[in-house]
């Protein structure tokens, strides 16, 4: 993966001018503040190592650049989308050390050295991961712009709870807004991965007669908590 960083080798006079204009609180010095002394960097571009999908990228980035900005505009990892820019829609969801975060609310410098996983990091050797494959088969994507974030949220859910019920699935993507209305098929996709639904979209044979069925497939998110314990037990057995 190329760095994609065109112009920022070191600190230039231009950056100095710029720093004074935008970094009003930096008292107009614009000079790079030593990280060790103050615990802060900037306001000009500062060196940063980002570990994304296992690869380390050495960048020089202004402290104000968000993680999604760095991923998209500097590293060319455009699978992660930016929609609202303020943590309200989930389109920019990536994993940082296995936890889903909004990369539009995360500064690139905040996650230096942490393990960042983006949508591009889920497929291995050109083969989609199970949740990605299920999204394709269940048609859990239309325009596809929310899809990366949806898949990351579903991955975190399945990592923690391999047999979620519908209420739990809906709750897991409650922070991922979709304008095309893919939500029902997103639930189908997760159920396929969880083995609750077969590739034909039917309920898995071993679940059809389950006494849990009525609650398991309840449409009501309020049943989520009621069945949580039972399902987590299921998950451990699986």
């Amino acid at each position: 993966m190329s760095d994609g960083d065109e112009n920022r080798g070191g600190f230039t006079r231009r950056d100095l001018v710029r720093g004074t204009l935008v970094g009003a609180i930096a008292a107009g010095t614009g000079a790079k503040v030593a990280k060790a002394e103050t615990g802060s960097v900037g306001p000009g571009p500062a060196p940063l190592e980002l570990k994304v999908n296992g690869a380390v990228h050495k960048l020089s980035i202004e402290p104000r650049v968000t993680l999604v900005g760095a991923l998209r505009d500097r590293l060319g990892l455009t699978g992660t989308k930016s929609v609202c820019g303020r943590g309200a829609c989930g389109a920019c969801t990536v994993l940082v050390d296995g936890t889903a975060v909004c990369s539009c609310l995360t500064l690139a410098h905040e996650v230096a050295g942490r393990e960042i996983t983006t949508i591009e990091g889920l497929a291995a050797d050109g083969r989609l991961s199970p949740i990605q494959q299920a999204f394709v088969e269940a048609d859990a994507l239309q325009c596809g712009f929310c899809t990366s974030g949806m898949i990351m949220s579903c991955k975190v859910l399945l990592d923690r709870n391999p047999k979620p019920n519908r209420g739990q699935i809906r709750a897991a993507v409650a922070g991922n807004l979709c304008r095309c209305g893919t939500y029902p098929h997103v639930v189908d996709a997760v159920e396929r991965v969880a083995g609750i639904r077969t590739a034909d979209g039917e309920l898995a044979p071993d679940l059809r007669l389950s006494t849990l069925d009525s609650r398991l497939f309840s449409n009501d998110p309020r049943v989520a908590s009621a069945t949580l314990a039972a399902l987590e037990m299921d998950g451990e057995e699986a």
């Binding site: 455009t78 989609l128 994507l141 325009c143 596809g144 899809t147 979709c178």
Partner: protein
């Protein structure tokens, strides 16, 4: 060429003499056994989208590419006195700057484009935008529709109305219409004599219905990447019509369309608002020319919500009458709506086209306000029109003491929709709906409501496609259509594979590039009825090319050679039989390539409107006013669906968007400043996963014979009746009419209170 064509639905067909254009295959017959068409086919670009590899226009990065943004007016009405770009031009990284509203020109809404900057990083553009110095002379403004209609209201246009958006051109709409202050109209239409109709009626109802302004909120914002190569312009656009973008740019730059290439590989939703390059697209291309470097200009969320279009509001007064036996006799509709600085506020489509009503009087007024211009939005005018019409139908039925569904059946001329009503009623258990109203919790009530959908068969000639058969047996399709997320790429492949008798993986599809044969703009639910018959026609003719190659080899006339089911055969000679692969080896190295134009619609076919019916079941908390939609049953027809899976997805999407419109969405402008108060999705609420009902979709196949693939569209009809069905369900639950969208807790509680104080039947 006259052909005997069987048309009909639900197992009942009649044979009609239909005029089919020369070179066009006859419409598929109801007896046809399809190998792939109509099955559930996962979309071909699903892997690209699920892996993050799909490159949307907003994802395009070119060497040396600059980033551009637009400075917008903070004032809702003003005159620009002066603009100084120099301080911005001297900022680090700034490469080009452009004035979009010249000194002396007027600002008509908060968020109007004033200037644009291109710089070498997104953050540096933001810095530079802040350095532009603009002097405005603020003027009085008005953002509320009622305020705008007052006699002394500030005028949005004191001269000619001039504003262009994809819902149409105000000037064009204004032709021949009176304008008084900010109010344009009425646009009159109708038939019969409503006053006579009311006199004949045994019951008459009258009410005013209010709907809000809805924002498209496509996740990918408007914008494009522009790159000049000498005099040639390449553009990666987020658009519903690549050729429209090309033609508008050609006009703006006075260069031949042949020098412009527009690409839309993947597209993050449009819903009606993305046609043409618009101001931002032309600005990007100008900046790119000035800077001598490619420029990316995509709007941010606030700009998207403020300035790129909306569904107009409406205030619909309806008076309607019916006789005791349940026949609709008269309907009078007066609509006032605001599309900001644009028009396009009419809502009369449903009232004119769903139910039979002999006496109809319609008066539609556009009210201008200092707000962002409206744009076409998924079935323009129809969700709001259906809401008012269907509430009126329920009100009449109630007054007649008649079941609302029975009342509809008596007045619905569409046999397809009557069947859809029957199917849906059974699935939602319509007959027991009254018994389901009460729950164990006295505060919680349930209700079931219904709404009717209609749309128009919008397909027609214009599009063109090339189908190439290669010597190795593979096939290629090139067609300049774009895929908004509806699955049109997959639709093209399915139609070609079906006609050629090939498995899907043998067919390569290329779309989304204006260098390809002309494709339709995706609006009016016309993509499939425009494209599918074009693809089939080209594939059909390519097969004839293959037949000719075999005929030459066999030294027999081409007419006696058939290509079907993967084999090439000679009639009457079983020995002359080649597999597809063997036959393709007879082709020259260039294979056979056919470019075909879509035929005219077949004369003499079944002319009708697309029909649909949706039923909603809701639960209402009468103490908190909260509405939860539990279930929606949607029964639709789109002729013959090409792909059952993506059609289901699109119907679900139409319902969820309709639910979102019914319950949550509402643009709020500040009357004091004229600015948008909810410019992002945490304040402008759209439905999320937890708001989704259980959705059951049913497709009724209809053979119209209008085009060779029996295609019509589904994108728009799927969202037309949802809000109507939900509102009627809430009314049924609480026993009081809902006359206002969105149905917020406040609206519900007000309706409950009003009913209680009147001693209503709650």
């Amino acid at each position: 060429m006259s052909e005997k064509v069987r048309i009909g639905f639900n197992g009942e067909f009649q044979t009609k003499e239909v005029k089919v254009a020369p070179g066009d295959p006859a419409p598929w017959d109801p007896s046809k056994k399809f190998s792939i068409l109509g099955t559930r086919v996962p979309r071909l670009d699903g892997k690209a989208k699920a892996s993050g590899e799909a490159r949307y226009s907003i994802d395009v990065r070119l060497p040396g590419m600059l980033y551009a943004r637009i400075l917008r007016s903070p004032y809702a009405a003003a005159t620009v006195k002066s603009i100084d770009l120099v301080p911005a031009r001297t900022m680090p990284g700034v490469k080009a700057a452009l004035v979009l509203t010249e000194p002396g020109e007027r600002i008509r809404f908060a968020g109007q484009e004033v200037a644009a900057i291109a710089a070498d990083s997104p953050d540096r553009v933001d810095d530079a935008l802040r350095a532009i110095v603009v002097a405005y002379e603020p003027r009085p403004f008005v953002v509320g529709i009622e305020a705008a209609e007052k006699p002394n209201a500030p005028l949005v246009f004191d001269g000619k109305a001039e504003s262009k958006a994809s819902a149409g051109d105000v000037e064009e709409r204004a032709k021949g219409l009176a304008r008084k202050g900010n109010v344009l109209g009425p646009r009159p239409s109708g038939k019969g004599d409503v006053e006579a109709g009311f006199r004949e009626s045994d019951v008459v109802v009258e009410a005013t219905y209010y709907t809000q302004v809805q924002l498209h909120t496509a996740l990918e914002t408007h914008g494009l990447v522009a790159q000049w190569e000498g005099d040639n312009l390449n553009v990666w656009s987020s658009t519903q019509g690549i050729f429209g973008v090309r033609d508008d740019l050609a006009e703006a730059f006075k260069i031949p369309a042949s020098r412009i290439r527009v690409i839309t590989e993947y597209m993050g939703g449009g819903f009606g608002a993305k046609f043409g390059p618009r101001i931002e697209g032309i600005a990007a291309a100008k900046l790119a020319r000035e800077a001598g470097a490619p420029v990316k200009l995509f709007l941010d969320r606030k700009e998207e919500q403020t300035a790129t279009g909306n569904r107009p509001s409406s205030v619909q007064w309806i008076k309607a009458g019916a006789t005791k036996d349940g026949k609709l006799k008269a309907l009078h509709l007066i609509v006032h709506g605001t599309g900001g600085t644009n028009g396009g506020t009419g809502t009369s489509g449903p009232a004119k086209n769903i139910y039979d009503c002999p006496n109809l009087k319609i008066e539609e007024y556009d009210v201008f306000t200092n707000a962002g211009p409206s744009a076409a939005f998924r079935a323009p005018g129809h969700p709001q029109g259906a809401f008012a019409l269907e509430a009126t139908m329920d009100a009449l039925a109630r007054k007649l003491g008649m079941d609302p569904l029975e009342f509809r059946m008596k007045n619905d001329p569409s046999e397809v929709r009557r069947e859809e009503f029957r199917i849906g009623a059974e699935k939602i258990n319509w007959t027991t709906r009254d018994g389901r109203r009460a729950t164990k919790d006295p505060a919680i009530v349930r209700g079931v409501g219904v709404g009717a959908a209609l749309w128009y068969n919008t397909g027609g000639p214009g599009p063109r496609a090339t189908v190439t058969l290669n010597r190795d047996g593979s096939a290629e399709v090139e067609h300049g259509v774009q895929d908004l997320g509806t699955g049109s790429r997959t639709m093209v492949a399915i139609v070609a594979a079906e006609e050629l008798g090939l498995p899907l993986e043998k067919v390569s599809v290329r779309i989304g590039d204006s260098r390809m044969p002309f494709g339709p703009a995706s609006g009016g639910s016309k993509t499939t009825p425009c494209s599918a018959p074009t693809i089939r026609r080209a594939a059909h003719q390519a097969k004839r090319g293959l037949a000719a190659a075999a005929a030459k080899e066999w030294k027999i006339p081409a007419e006696s050679v058939a290509v079907d089911g993967g084999f090439v055969t000679a009639s009457g000679d079983p020995a002359k039989r080649l597999s597809w692969i063997e036959a393709c080896k007879l082709l020259p190295p260039s294979g056979v390539a056919v470019t075909a134009d879509r035929a005219e619609n077949n004369e003499g076919a079944w002319k009708r409107f697309v029909a649909g019916a949706q039923f909603a079941e809701v639960e209402v908390d009468t103490e908190t006013g909260k509405v939860r939609v539990e279930r929606v049953v949607a029964v639709h027809d789109c002729g013959l669906a090409v792909n059952a899976l993506t059609t289901e997805s699109q119907i679900q999407g139409g319902i969820i968007q309709g639910l979102s419109y019914a319950l949550f969405e509402d643009r709020v402008l500040d009357p004091a400043s004229g600015r948008l108060l909810n410019p992002n999705v945490e304040e402008y609420k759209i439905a999320g996963s937890l708001d989704c009902p259980d959705i059951e979709t049913v497709l009724v196949p209809v053979w119209e014979g209008v085009n060779n693939t029996q295609s019509t569209g589904i994108g728009e009809p799927a969202t037309v009746p949802t809000a109507a069905a939900i509102a009627n369900a809430v009314s049924h639950a609480i026993g009081a009419p809902i006359t206002r969208l969105p149905i917020t807790p406040e609206v519900v509680l007000a309706a409950v209170d009003a009913a209680r104080s009147k001693g209503g039947r709650s």
